[in-house]
Symmetry: C2
Subunit: 316 residues, 2 copies
């Protein structure tokens, strides 16, 4: 459980790039000592404001993250970006190469950008990206932007991890993403209709507003902003809306409640992970294999052997 | 743990529709007694051949399932279809209305069709659909078809649950589904290029074949079949390819290995579920809430309290 000596905590807290990079690598690869590190930096977290950016592929999420980062830098704030690529769990290769276009922001010392690709399951990736956000938080970044493609579960995880969630759509976001949109509609604190100079923009705007009209209202009314991120149009409005939402959360107990939920989720995940690891220690794996033979012969059922295995594990 | 008295096992094993329907409802709603039922029918399972059909939205998966069901019926086989709708976990509404078009098959007594929509998480839905497949298996269906949209995790679950996995693409399956395709490429036992009379079909065929050329070969070479399912073209070829794959699996120990993996996965899920339920009993939930207060005050960390909670749970 010792922490990897390559990460110098003092330097990390001072925001030094190499230390941040090493710490995130530790977390991403789940290397020996990563949990110890997360434990040691925990007291330094909770100061960043966390922005989630999600939506269907090809909507310009990276460009918006880029523009926002630049805007915050102009305000004198430091920024960290975690870009989550939900690529194939099989191939391991990143499909989204958007990040290479962000060079001007990457050269800025006040911005730290990290792409994380899926090597295992998407669920695991979300956990790691949240831990990477903790590293950036502890390293003193005022703003942490978490960006992910909204497919299946990943956008829900991002929404859970962010203080403000921005969903980016484009006028073409039509049929093929219907299935995603339903979920995206519920998690957005506001929408950005990017590439809004394209055909069908007004119609898309209208239909989003119509759907929003049916949404339950908890004191905050989600809005739709137009943007042409590639030209920088709309960035200031997006940043202003994020500030507005932040103030809304801070006025009530919204922010505190979100963070508490996040911590609770974290504890539940840690418990599930540890129970799994503890449970499937060698002896029990051997037992499983032997018991599966009896199930294959129809002499037992999965339900019986799950219970038998558990009986030897719990107290009382 | 008593089974719901509404399900008559004798009638279920005889394939009676009302009993099948009640049993699946029990499982879908995780009602009292559902696990007892699954345990009781387990010895009758393992006889159906399970076909998974997945792919991007709008590819015609339901039509293909429909056509296949009709084809198998003509061979004198009975068929069950589980259609999994990975709709928003928030709205609870089904987005895919394809099923209503399947009336001619639905009127056939030898075919049982059930749609399952997501009420909780996608993961939970996969589990329930596999359990529903067990019900159909025990009810004597020769063929069980499991159909789901390939987004995120659901297509992997289906592939794990099926003996043969068919991935349905269309010529237009382009940019927006790149992220999915990478995963889909790996799980397909073969591909169907549906709507192959559309523009770009030959190009799409070529690019799928090119990607397949890079795939690892385990003795089985995945193929691409053309189809126009709405007109019934290609159904026989699809059925023949499924039979070919089944024979390939049965010749070696492929089928046995797949089923063993499936059972192991089931046991692991059951263990994880039970541990979670047992763990978060009332006292521990109360402890969690109190401990979260200390974390919010930065006097403890999620890592510490996860360990504290676990310490009181495990034996030795």
């Amino acid at each position: 459980m010792d922490r990897n000596p390559d990460v110098d905590l003092k330097k990390l807290f001072a925001g030094e790039r190499v230390s941040i990079s090493r710490a995130i690598t530790l977390v991403e690869n789940e290397q020996e000592g990563s949990e110890q590190l997360l434990k040691e930096i925990f007291a330094r977290t909770g100061r960043s404001y966390r922005i989630g950016i999600t939506g269907p592929p090809g909507g310009g999420k990276s460009t918006i993250a880029n523009r926002l980062a630049r805007w915050y830098r102009q305000q004198g704030l430091t920024v960290g970006i975690i870009a989550v690529d939900p690529t194939s769990p099989f191939t391991g290769g990143a499909l989204l190469g958007d990040r290479v276009r962000m060079t001007d922001v990457e050269l800025d010392e006040g911005v730290f950008i990290r792409s994380m690709a899926s090597r295992g399951s998407l669920g695991g990736l979300s956990k790691k990206s949240i831990e990477a956000a903790d590293v950036l938080d502890a390293a003193g970044k005022d703003i942490v932007i978490m960006e992910t493609v909204g497919v299946g579960q990943s956008e829900l995880d991002i929404a859970g991890a962010a203080d403000t969630t921005v969903v980016v759509l484009v006028p073409e976001s039509g049929d093929s993403i219907q299935a995603m949109k339903a979920g995206l509609m519920e998690i957005a604190d506001f929408f950005v209709l990017n590439k809004s100079d394209r055909a069908g923009a007004d119609q898309a705007l209208m239909s989003i507003k119509m759907i929003l009209a049916f949404r339950k209202n908890d004191g905050w009314t989600p809005d739709v902003l137009k943007a042409i991120a590639i030209e920088g149009q709309g960035t200031e409005e997006i940043a202003a809306k994020i500030t507005e939402h932040r103030k809304f959360l801070e006025l009530g107990d919204g922010l505190k409640r979100k963070r508490r939920q996040r911590l609770e989720e974290r504890v539940r995940e840690l418990v599930a992970d540890r129970l799994r690891v503890d449970f499937w220690a060698n002896e029990r794996l051997t037992m499983l294999s032997a018991k599966l033979d009896t199930v294959m012969k129809m002499k037992s059922t999965p339900y019986d052997i799950a219970q038998e295995l558990i009986n030897g594990f719990q107290k009382g």
